[in-house]
């Protein structure tokens, strides 16, 4: 969702939430997703000049007891929240990147069986963009309900509706899980990090 000309991130978020409320969505508290980047410590790198891998440790308020650890294009590990303590112990192997923490905070809306989360993505002190997550609970196979989701997105995003996320293509018949959501958030955060001030919408 690009920020409209001459308007701040804050104003665009307000515009979005107002549209949702006109649609009939009910406010249901807030949500928060955060992500911290770790890179493999220099001392453990092989002599072949192999590049250090990046690992992302993420939390989602939707799953308050879990902690997600993801590698780029790699596996996703779902652990208890104690995992954070473990990361401190693994300092020798994984080092936290300085000022890499990126998070999105916002309001959670419910409209029929849809769950909509509109959040402001912040990195450090500055707002970088807007994330829109749409979840359709009754359907467990993402590709089955994509056209349905698209129609719903058009109803409040208008012409800014994004294309189908990559997750859908890879495994078109698999059951959607929390990890899939986190992978999408990770990709979204990475995009925001690379492109300054060009926000993208992530869709479940």
């Amino acid at each position: 969702m690009p920020v409209a000309e001459g308007k701040s991130v804050q104003q665009t978020v307000e515009l979005l939430t107002r549209k949702l409320e006109i649609l009939g969505a009910e406010k249901q508290g807030t949500f928060c997703v955060d992500c911290e980047t770790y890179h493999t410590a220099a001392s453990t790198l092989g002599s072949q000049g192999q590049a250090g891998k990046l690992m992302y440790v993420m939390h989602n308020s939707e799953y308050p007891l879990s902690c997600f650890a993801l590698f780029e294009n790699g596996p996703c590990l779902i652990a208890d929240t104690n995992f954070d303590v473990l990361m401190v112990k693994l300092k020798g192997f994984f080092q936290s990147a300085k000022a890499s923490k990126i998070e999105t905070r916002g309001t959670r809306y419910q409209y029929c069986d849809f769950l909509v989360k509109v959040g402001t993505v912040t990195m450090g002190p500055s707002a970088r963009g807007i994330s829109v997550e749409v979840e359709y609970g009754p359907c467990v196979v993402a590709s089955d309900c994509w056209s349905l989701l698209l129609e719903f997105l058009q109803s409040f995003l208008g012409s800014h509706t994004p294309g189908a996320p990559a997750v859908f293509g890879n495994r078109h018949d698999a059951i959607y899980g929390p990890a899939d959501t986190m992978v999408q958030y990770m990709e979204l955060f990475n995009k925001i990090r690379k492109q300054q001030q060009v926000p993208v919408a992530g869709i479940r």
Binding site: D113, P138, C139, D144, C145, E151
Partner: protein
Amino acid sequence: MADVLSVGVNLEAFAQAISAIQALRSSVSRVFDCLKDGMRNKETLEGREKAFIAHFQDNLHSVNRDLNELERLSNLVGKPSENHPLHNSGLLSLDPVQDKTPLYSQLLQAYKWSNKLQYHAGLASGLLNQQSLKRSANQMGVSAKRRPKAQPTTLVLPLQYVDDVISRIDRMFPEMSIHLSRPNGTSAMLLVTLGKVLKVIVVMRSLFIDRTIVKGYNENVYTEDGKLDIWSKSSYQVFQKVTDHATTALLHYQLPQMPDVVVRSFMTWLRSYIKLFQAPCQRCGKFLQDGLPPTWRDFRTLEAFHDTCRQ
């Protein structure tokens, strides 16, 4: 009005009857007075007795006369309340204190209501009889004599037969898996899993489907003690709607003589929900209406419609 008038004509007779009653009462009290006073004021015992008997006889004659008079008058008065449509309650209209107790007008209102109710109920029962929703073999017209014969055939079927029918249906639809269990005696409960879309709990009585509940594929269908949860509904609005439609389908598919065909057609209908989230409405061409996908499936064509888009 006519009743009020006829009562007015008889008023004369009424007045006479009332005075006749008064006369009767006084003559009767005279009899008792005479009995109370006894024999007295006569010189001889015989004279006293004679005078007393004569006096007593006179009194009784006058009682008799008054009574006859009253009977004659009562025939004249007649029974005015008989021919009133509300019978004795019609006399309430004569009550002069209308404002304090509007009993009569309320009574008329109630009478009209009940008349209308009877009329409408008669119409409704006529219409309902044309489109009977009874699913068992004994229909309305069947006489009481024949009824016991028709009943046992469809309700008491061997368990093996039920199992066969269900497993045949299970094999018929590859994307549908049916798990049969009998937690409470002979009645079967089916857990139907349709693709990765939904789960349906079907409660059977012999080969009749008694109840269905539709839930999401990721929803829990068991209670805490591991039994099928046949009471709680789905937490998603979509599946609550589909549950309603499935119940409608149960009433639609009925063929008392061939219960297996009914189950098969119901399952065929249910199978069309495999595209619940993928099929747009055949009428408006959209996916969503009020946040819900097309939840209705036509009974014959199995096409998808929104609840409000179907004819």
